[in-house]
Amino acid sequence: MVDTFIPLLVLLLLLAALMRDDFAITLIYLVVGAVAIGTWWSHRSLARITFKRQFAAWAFLGEKIDVGIQINNKGWLPVLWVDIQESLPVALSSFPFFEHVTTLGPRAETRYHYTLEARKRGYYPIGPLFASTGDILGLSRPVRLQGLVQFLTVYPKIVPLTSIDLPSSSPQGTLRHTQPIFEDPTRTFAKRDYTVGDSLRRVDWKSSATTGRLQVKLFEPSIALETLIFLNLNAEDYLIRTRIDSTELAIVIAASLAAWVAGKKQTVGLKVNGTDPLMGDSLPQYIPPRKGQANLMRILEKLARVEMNSGISFVEMIRQQRYHLSWGTTLLVITGLVGDDLLDELYQARRAGQNVVLILAGPSASYGDISDRAGHFGIRVVSIPNERGLDIWRK
């Protein structure tokens, strides 16, 4: 565009120099003024625009997220036109993507709303928001401003589980058990007459005084389920054809199990060898076993963000972690393919008093073989080839 008025300007300058004429100088002012004021206006007005994006930063799968955008003109100069364009991940939005053209008076504001759909778990950037404007005459190039990026976490799918039978050896918890070895002295469920050999500690003196016979308390056995979920997101440990689906299924299994354990008011933790984009490194991610909803949300957030990677050995990760776990802890090991080294490591864990459940996520041709081999070590194997496979824990 500049090429068009440069010859005119040169001619005017020549005329002004030769004639010292008011006309030429006035026209120079007009030519340059039109370009300069127009350019200044567009730059200045864009610099005074501020954006604010409001939305709930966490969402469950399938939820609709309402995003509000507030555009403010903080200056006294009106904004002739501004094209607002939002960069959105395709996993959350579909065509037409958010784009609007508006005009803003001095100190004016405008609001827009659009909806995102949490269709896939993940950690998504919302934005940046681009605002572009130009001068009224279209003589200079449009100017563009880039707004902030915010993030939205979509939690993974949680399948409500009802009937999981997880082994545990931690005594005195809140879960009922069948083995009398885990009797809980705080849970009296009946009384009977004293027989020789009963411990005096079990005698219920009040009942004995009332009945006139020695009565002993019968305790209900209970266990505490301290669980740590080991999730394998090493790409090489899954079949290449179903790698993406299988890892996603593994995440769904981990989330569902964590929700179930937390729902039972038991402690649950997570160790995963995936990459968390927030952490900036590819070290294994660990959330220590704790009780409560807050810890479950922490696990779900991690599972929402974590991505498949390659290179971090799953067996090594289990080996490093299991030494820090207490006796009786239940290890839920979720993986795709199982090698001898993994079975060996899980056997060592079992020998150390920890309970192991091996869960195969995704289609596995050698389930029978793995099950047999694991059976020798006393390890329970569950195969979940697809999401419907979780129905075994829903009956």
Binding site: M1, V2, D3, T4, F5, I6, P7, L8, L9, L11, L13, L15, M19, R20, D21, D22, F23, A24, I25, T26, L27, I28, Y29, L30, V31, V32, G33, A34, I37, T39, W41, A56, W58, P78, L80, W81, E99, H100, V101, T103, G105, G134, I136, L137, G138, L139, S140, R141, T153, L278, I287, R290, K291, G292, Q293, A294, N295, M297, R298, E301
Partner: protein, 540 residues
């Protein structure tokens, strides 16, 4: 707004802006005719510029209006030839009648019988031929403008999109061609206006001391050329709107309803402000660039001279007072205060200026500052648009030093600007605080917990946890989620593990769920918070 409403609105806007554009093009054609007429008037004093200006205005409107109809007819078809020939016969007769009438009705009536005797000489007079040339140029230029305006419309854009025509891809955009056309015509008009100001007789007579007429700014085609440029700018504004609007419509981007109205309003305001500013700026100077610069330095030196003089006078006064205490006569009484013996400020060049020499100096300085600013702006704008030239310039030896110097200057100016902005901002802030005494004293922020509902109470206790945590060296980082922050707190306060979990869980539920929060939940959170607070106190 539905797609249909949007489309209807677009059609309405396009029609309004198209007709406004036609009117502007016709006015521009009239301005061109007036400027050319000024030159012709200089060469042929009998020439009537006003008459041809009116004719060109009407011819332009006709060309713009009928352009679409011409397009529908096949060129050189029978229908086209008949329309073309009849139209031009009417136009030529009209032009002949008007040029004939410009010399008076009697002269025109007397001229008619002579056409039979010598048609070519009597009918095809010089003024008629020149008028015909002007009309033909106006006709075709207006048609060209109409074609370009059509190309910017939605209809043409849809056809091009449907055809996916590769042939048009290398061609510049219609709007770029329009801008180029407007500026090219403006350049020609400036040349014509320049020629009007040249004393051709003096040149032919060899008198080179008075080459140019000293005409007022608006005389000799100046007004019409300036008007052409202003109308051109208005047309650029219109076409910018219509081309942007077309682009947005093609991309199905919703456009604010207010935009069309505001565009028209801001265009008028923009042109009015531009014209107002230009009319205020000095267009003449009584001093050259170096004289203005010299005077500016003189002014600066004079200011310092006065400052030094006053400091010196104060010093002398103090010393004299001190010596008078010892009975010594003041030795420095002579020439202690600054005298009028200062550098002469005005140059000889200003003698022919206004009665106020200071006004002359100020006007000249402003003129040169603006003039140099314009040259600098044009140069930098050109370089910004032509990066390849900039790359070549960077290879020139010494450019790096110049660039460093420029950066240094810019840095200094930016620093000064920042300092001033900061100072002004802090001053305004102080004023605001004085005006609003209630803002900073915290009285207005009193919160009655009893008036809060259960959800708000949960928020309140969680925020209290965050605040107290921060006070005890456990601040929440902006990137931390509630659960991540809870983990941080739990690591530091293992005794409050359960309570922190419970409070955080309740907060997350209150914040991100839509179901009502029961008052018992708020009480439970309060109890948890009180326990955490005790542990936090213990930590202290």
């Amino acid at each position: 707004m539905s797609q249909r409403e949007s489309s209807q609105e677009y059609r309405f806007n396009e029609t309004v802006f198209r007709w406004t554009s036609y009117l502007l093009v016709a006015l521009m054609a009239a301005c061109c005719a007036w400027t050319l007429g000024s030159l012709l008037n200089r060469l042929m004093p009998s020439w009537q510029p006003l008459l041809m200006t009116t004719v060109c205005f009407l011819i332009s409107l006709d060309s713009l209006y009928t352009n679409n109809r011409w397009k529908d007819q096949a060129i050189f078809s029978k229908e086209w030839v008949v329309t073309f020939v009849t139209r031009w016969i009417v136009i030529l007769l009209l032009v002949k009648t008007l040029t004939g009438l410009s010399h008076g009705l009697d002269a025109f009536l007397a001229e008619i019988p002579l056409w039979r005797t010598d048609f070519l000489t009597r009918f095809m007079t010089n003024d008629f031929l020149i008028s015909v040339v002007m009309v033909i140029i106006t006709w075709f230029l207006s048609g060209h403008f109409a074609g370009l305006l059509d190309e910017m419309g939605m209809e043409h854009a849809l056809i091009t999109m449907d055809m996916g025509s590769a042939a048009h891809r290398d061609e510049p955009l219609a709007r770029d061609r329009l801008v180029s056309l407007i500026f090219t015509i403006c350049t020609i008009l400036v040349m014509i206006t320049g020629l009007v100001r040249v004393n051709l007789r003096a040149i032919f007579a060899g008198q080179f001391d008075s080459l140019f007429f000293d005409l007022p700014i608006l005389a000799g085609g100046g007004a019409s050329t300036l008007a052409y440029f202003m109308f051109g700018l208005a047309l650029l504004s219109q076409t910018q709107f219509i081309s942007l609007h077309t682009r947005w419509n093609l991309a199905h981007i919703p456009v604010s309803k207010k935009l069309a109205g505001r565009w028209a309003l801001y265009s008028i305001l923009f042109l009015a402000i531009l014209a107002g500013l230009v009319s205020l700026l000095p267009t003449s100077y009584s001093m050259g660039l170096l004289s203005s610069l010299g005077n500016l330095i003189d002014l600066y030196m004079q200011f310092f001279y006065y400052i030094i003089g006053f400091v010196f006078a104060a010093l002398v006064l103090f010393l004299n007072m001190l010596l008078s205490l010892f009975g010594v006569k003041a030795p420095f009484i002579k020439n202690a205060f600054p005298t009028n013996n200062i550098p002469k400020l005005l140059n000889q060049e200003t003698s022919g200026g206004s009665s106020l020499p200071w006004l002359d100096i100020a006007r000249s300085i402003i003129f040169w500052v603006i003039f140099l600013g314009i040259i600098f702006f044009s140069f930098s704008h050109y370089l910004r648009q032509h990066q390849e030239v900039l790359i070549r310039l960077r290879r020139i030896p010494g450019w790096r030093i110049l660039a460093q110097f420029w950066r240094w200057i810019r840095g200094k100016f930016a620093g000064v600007k920042r300092g001033i902005s900061k100072m002004v901002e802090s001053g305004l802030e102080r004023l605001r605080l004085r005006r609003e005494p209630g803002v900073g004293d915290g009285k207005g922020r009193y919160l009655n917990l009893k008036r809060l509902n259960a959800r708000q109470k949960v928020y309140f206790f969680y925020l209290a946890l965050v605040r107290r945590g921060g006070e005890h060296g456990l601040p929440r980082s902006p990137s931390q989620t509630p659960s991540e922050y809870a983990a941080t707190l739990e690591d530091a306060l293992p005794a409050a593990d359960e309570d922190i979990d419970s409070l955080t869980g309740s907060f997350v539920e209150a914040r991100y769920s839509s179901h009502p929060v029961p008052p018992e939940e708020a009480n439970r959170v309060r109890t948890a918070w009180e326990r955490i607070r005790k542990i936090l106190r213990g930590k202290k």
